[in-house]
Structures are given as structure tokens and as C-alpha cells.
């Protein structure tokens, strides 16, 4: 149980109790870094143009993995592969392997809807539905046919997203009446309500003020105890603050300077990326020599 902090409400985190916890010692598999995603030579193209190329790295359970890099390097394109959101764009094509818990995410038998039930997403601009706060959160559980008391599910999700106290008295009011930061936490709560395995966040704070940003960063650190998080961010300091692992992307122009293609330069512990990066391009970016 997290200790109550002065500003954030109490967050209840329930970790599944393994059967062999007899002496209170954690089993081996919990201590080791367990990858849930393995990307192998992933290339994403829109039509004929490759947006991001040859991406290879792992994403591990209960970690926050940050994707950083300059504009146009394909970070958003890549993160959208992880929950098959690129399927919504007719010209998008994914090559290479995206393996999730040992299964090829783009395999022929895989249903994209099932994928998105387990891998949720929070978008750059908060996108609440034009409905009440309650109905926003309840939408996911309803369409997925989740069992359980809807009121409890809604409350639990809003608590987990650190927004319950602010809205508990106005659950039936329209979500559009909330401030930007509240709306984004609502979107996070909405995502949590369907009990995902992974939460993808595409620049979740870039449209928000610094105080809301801070609240969401605190929330992310709490959430990683129960979920795994991948975040795209423009804000290097944010990546340095919250993430465990960081992937640095760069953008390359092709010969006739028409197409920009992104690729991963370095993937490592966040601390190493920011204090002692291996690649000079990484160093140039994180020290602010290039934008």
C-alpha cells in the first residue's frame, strides 16, 4: 500500500500474490527484468516512405521506457505499432517483428481489438468523449463486457489516476468541463478501467501546464508498480525524471532530402543515456547541442 502523500490521494496497488510466497521472499522471476515486448528490425512505412527503420529493443514489465528524439524521428509512429493503432491508417505498413509475450503482434491469427484491450493508449491531446465523467470511464468496461460493479470500477479507476477527489461530486457532469490536466488524468483513468497490461503514452503532457505535468509524472511512477509504461516525450528532462530505460531516436534524410526516416541510435538505462551515452549523437541531443 502506498503511503498517503499530502497532495495525491491514497492509491491502492494490488500486486498478484504468487503461490510460492510462503516465507515472504519474492520468487526469482519477479526480480529479473522480464521483457514483454521484443522489437526486431521493425520498419514502419506510410506508402513508399519509411517513417522509422530497423528498430530493435526490448520493453520490460513494470518499467517506464521512454522514447526520445527530435521531431519527425518516428517515435509516435513506432509507439502506435505496439497497440496496432497504425492499422487505422490505410497506407501504413509494418515490417519486422513485434513480439508481445512471445507472440507476434502482427501474426495472421491476431485480433487487433484483443491487442488493444491489453495495451492501452493515452494521446497527446486529451480526448475525452463528449459524455459525463462517469460514462467516459464506464465506456471501456461496458463495451468489453467486464463483470463487476460498474460504480466500483469507475471509482477505482479514477482513484488510480489520482483524480477521484476532484471529480467524485460531479461524476455525471460533462467531461468537457474539466481542465486540460484533469481531462488527461481522466483519459488515463479511462485507460486503466479496462485493466490493461501495458499503457502507451504519446507525449501525454505536451499540451499541459507544468503543474498538471508534474501530477501526471508522479502518477506514472506509481502506476508502474502495476502496469508497464512506454512513453514518447519531447521533453528530455521528463524522460530523465520518470523513465527506467530510454531509447534515443534520430532522424535521417535520404539522398534527395525528401524523406525523413527515424532510427534508434541507442537504447539503455536512462541514467546511462543521460550521463554517459555511448553514441555521440545521443550525447549531442541530451546535452542540448542539437534540438
Amino acid at each position: 500500500m502506498a503511503e498517503p502523500v499530502t497532495e495525491s490521494p491514497e492509491i491502492r496497488v494490488e500486486t498478484p500474490q504468487p503461490a510460492s510466497d510462503a516465507e515472504g521472499s519474492r520468487p526469482e522471476w519477479k526480480r529479473a527484468r522480464e521483457p514483454i515486448f521484443h522489437l526486431d528490425d521493425v520498419t514502419v512505412s506510410y506508402g513508399d516512405n519509411a517513417a522509422v527503420r530497423d528498430v530493435t529493443f526490448d520493453i520490460a514489465r513494470h518499467e517506464i521506457t521512454a522514447l526520445i528524439g527530435p521531431s519527425g524521428c518516428g517515435k509516435s509512429t513506432l509507439i502506435r505499432c505496439l497497440n496496432r493503432m497504425n492499422d487505422l491508417i490505410p497506407s501504413a505498413r509494418v515490417e519486422g517483428k513485434v513480439v508481445y509475450h512471445g507472440q507476434d503482434l502482427y501474426g495472421p491469427e491476431v485480433d487487433a481489438v484483443e491487442v488493444r484491450k491489453r495495451i492501452g493508449m493515452v494521446f497527446q491531446k486529451p480526448n475525452p468523449f463528449p459524455k459525463s465523467i462517469y460514462d467516459n470511464i464506464a465506456f471501456g468496461p461496458r463495451v468489453l463486457g467486464m463483470k463487476g460493479d460498474l460504480d466500483e470500477i469507475v471509482e477505482q479507476a479514477l482513484r488510480s489516476a489520482a483524480v477521484w477527489d476532484e471529480v467524485k461530486d460531479r461524476l455525471r457532469t460533462n467531461a468537457f468541463g474539466m481542465s486540460g490536466g484533469q481531462q488527461q488524468r481522466l483519459c488515463i483513468a479511462r485507460c486503466l478501467a479496462v485493466e490493461p497490461d501495458v499503457i502507451l503514452m504519446d507525449e501525454p503532457c505536451s499540451a499541459l501546464d507544468p503543474i498538471s505535468t508534474g501530477k501526471i509524472e508522479d502518477l506514472m511512477i506509481d502506476l508502474k508498480q502495476q502496469y508497464s509504461i512506454v512513453i514518447v516525450t519531447h521533453n528530455m528532462q521528463q524522460a530523465a525524471r520518470v523513465s527506467d530505460k530510454t531509447a534515443f531516436f534520430t532522424v535521417e534524410l535520404d539522398e534527395d532530402e525528401k524523406n525523413r526516416t527515424g532510427r534508434v541510435v541507442e537504447f539503455d538505462d536512462t541514467e546511462k543515456i543521460f550521463t554517459n551515452p555511448s553514441d555521440p549523437r545521443t550525447e549531442a541531443y541530451v546535452t542540448g547541442k542539437v534540438g
Binding site: 490505410p90 480526448n127 463528449p130 468489453l144 485507460c191
Partner: protein, 296 residues
């Protein structure tokens, strides 16, 4: 004024006069256009207001003009609008959903459907009457000149309006809503049915009402379909023979050529009633749009 003076930017007196007279000319044209409308409305009111009464609304048509009323035509129109609405709402909305949400516009068949709808929107209304005559009244369905045939004919006529309005209403819903819903694990139809369509309903409803406003005043298709003029009963079902307000108006106008004093007021009163109905429908449409329009 010389080109050089123009370039320096000092308008001469004659230049200013030209500007002013252009402006005046534009306003005069607008005045003529709107003026005709005003004269038309005044003329109709003057001709018909005296005859428009409860007696008029509740009586059936009659050989003696002073007893004649519009009840059968009014109810005929109401029945026709009912059939029309029941047809255009599901078909129009479904087509709009298909084209906006499912149809990939790079495929030629989807582009053909779109082009086809744009063309149908401009086909003369009398041609729809011919279509109705050939397929609904006679031909394969042979429904006869009944309410169902008339209503469906009008429905086919205004269907493109509903489809076009429906597509605009769906398009106005931002894609971020669809993405948010799909990202939660909802299917495409769940997203459309529970998020996109509800948000588009005000726009769709406005489109349907405007389509019905068009249908209610259409005479030519009903003439060709064969709506009778001397009907002294209200429709009892979709398989009834019928008359409609535009048809009755047309009949009275035709009679007015021979007997202008008796029949002209009847025609004018019926026109007035029709315009009042139209005004009511359009007011509802405008109210709907203002009250429920979603500001994203």
C-alpha cells in the same frame, strides 16, 4: 485614372464614384432578388389569409368551392412524410456511415457511389416520378397509386440530401474520438454506434428535417406517380389512395383558370398552410442545430 496613379494608391474622384456605384448596383440586385420573395409572400397572404380557417383545414374538397377544404390533402401529406421519413432515415444514415467510416475512398466502387449520389442530388424531380411510376406504382412492385408508392418515390428523391448531410455530420466528429475509443479495445462498430453516431445525431436530424421540407412541397413526382386530386377521405393505411397538399394546390390553380374568384383563394390558402408547415419544420431544424450542436 492612369496606372501610375493607381499604383500610388490615391483614388481619384471618378474611381471612388465607380466603387460606390458598384456597391449600389450590388445592393440593388440583392434588393430585387429579396424583393420578389417579399412580394410573393405578401401576394400569397393577401390572396389566401381570408380563406385559411379551421373550416378550411377540417373540410374535404368539394365541387362547391366555398365548402371545400384541405383535410384529405393535409393528412395525405402527413402520411407521405411518415413513409418518407421511415425510409430515408435508416437508408440515408446507413449509407452515410458506410461511406464515411468503412468506405476506403481509393477504391473505385466507393468513388462511384459518391459520384452517383452527387448526380442523383441534381436529377430533376419529375424523373423520380417516372422512376416511381415504372417500378413502384406499376412494373415489378405494382403497388398502385398508394401512399407507400408516393412516400417511397419522395424518399428516393430526397435520399441524397440525407446522405450528404449525414456524411458532413459524421465528418465533423473529430478522429481523436474514434482513436480514443478504438484504443480502449472497442470494435469499429462499437465506436460508431456508441460514440460517433450519437455525436452526429443533431446534424443528421437537421438534415432529415431539411430533406422532409423539400419533399413536402414536391408536386411533379406525385403528379407522375398519379396522386389523385379528388379524394374526399384521409388515408387509412399505406395502401390507401391519397392526395397531397401540392397536388390539391395544383388542382385548384388549374380550376382557377376558369373560375378565378372561387378557386384562387383556395389555392392561396392551401399554399399559406404549406408555407406555415415549412416554417415550423425549418424552425425546428434551426433550433435543433443551435441547441445540440457539439462544439469540439
Amino acid at each position: 485614372m492612369s496606372a501610375r496613379q493607381e499604383a500610388i494608391g490615391r483614388p481619384s474622384g471618378s474611381q471612388r464614384a465607380k466603387d460606390q456605384s458598384f456597391r449600389v448596383a450590388l445592393l440593388a440586385c440583392l434588393a430585387v432578388a429579396i424583393g420578389l420573395l417579399v412580394v410573393l409572400l405578401i401576394d400569397v397572404v393577401l390572396d389566401g389569409a381570408g380563406t385559411l380557417s379551421w373550416h378550411f383545414i377540417n373540410s374535404f374538397t368539394s365541387i362547391s368551392a366555398d365548402k371545400a377544404g384541405i383535410q384529405a390533402a393535409l393528412w395525405g401529406t402527413i402520411w407521405l412524410m411518415g413513409v418518407c421519413a421511415l425510409f430515408i432515415v435508416p437508408v440515408g444514415v446507413a449509407t452515410a456511415i458506410y461511406l464515411e467510416e468503412y468506405g476506403d475512398s481509393t477504391k473505385w466502387w466507393n468513388r462511384l457511389i459518391e459520384l452517383n449520389i452527387q448526380n442523383l442530388a441534381a436529377v430533376p424531380s419529375i424523373v423520380y416520378g417516372i422512376l416511381g411510376l415504372a417500378f413502384l406504382v406499376r412494373g415489378p412492385l405494382s403497388l398502385g397509386t398508394v401512399v407507400l408508392a408516393g412516400g417511397l418515390t419522395l424518399g428516393l428523391l430526397v435520399l441524397p440530401m440525407v446522405i450528404i448531410a449525414g456524411r458532413e455530420a459524421l465528418r465533423a466528429v473529430p478522429s481523436s474520438i474514434r482513436e480514443g475509443s478504438m484504443a480502449l479495445g472497442a470494435t469499429q462498430w462499437q465506436t460508431i454506434w456508441r460514440q460517433v453516431l450519437p455525436a452526429a445525431i443533431p446534424g443528421i436530424a437537421t438534415g432529415v428535417i431539411l430533406a422532409l421540407s423539400r419533399a413536402i412541397g414536391e408536386t411533379a413526382p406525385l403528379i407522375v406517380v398519379g396522386a389523385a386530386t379528388v379524394i374526399a377521405f384521409n388515408p387509412s393505411g399505406v395502401d390507401s389512395q391519397f392526395t397531397a397538399m401540392p397536388i390539391q394546390i395544383f388542382d385548384w390553380i388549374s380550376r382557377a383558370s376558369n373560375d378565378i374568384n372561387n378557386y384562387r383563394p383556395l389555392a392561396a390558402a392551401a399554399i399559406l398552410l404549406l408555407m406555415i408547415l415549412l416554417l415550423a419544420m425549418n424552425s425546428v431544424a434551426i433550433w435543433l442545430r443551435n441547441r445540440y450542436e457539439q462544439k469540439w
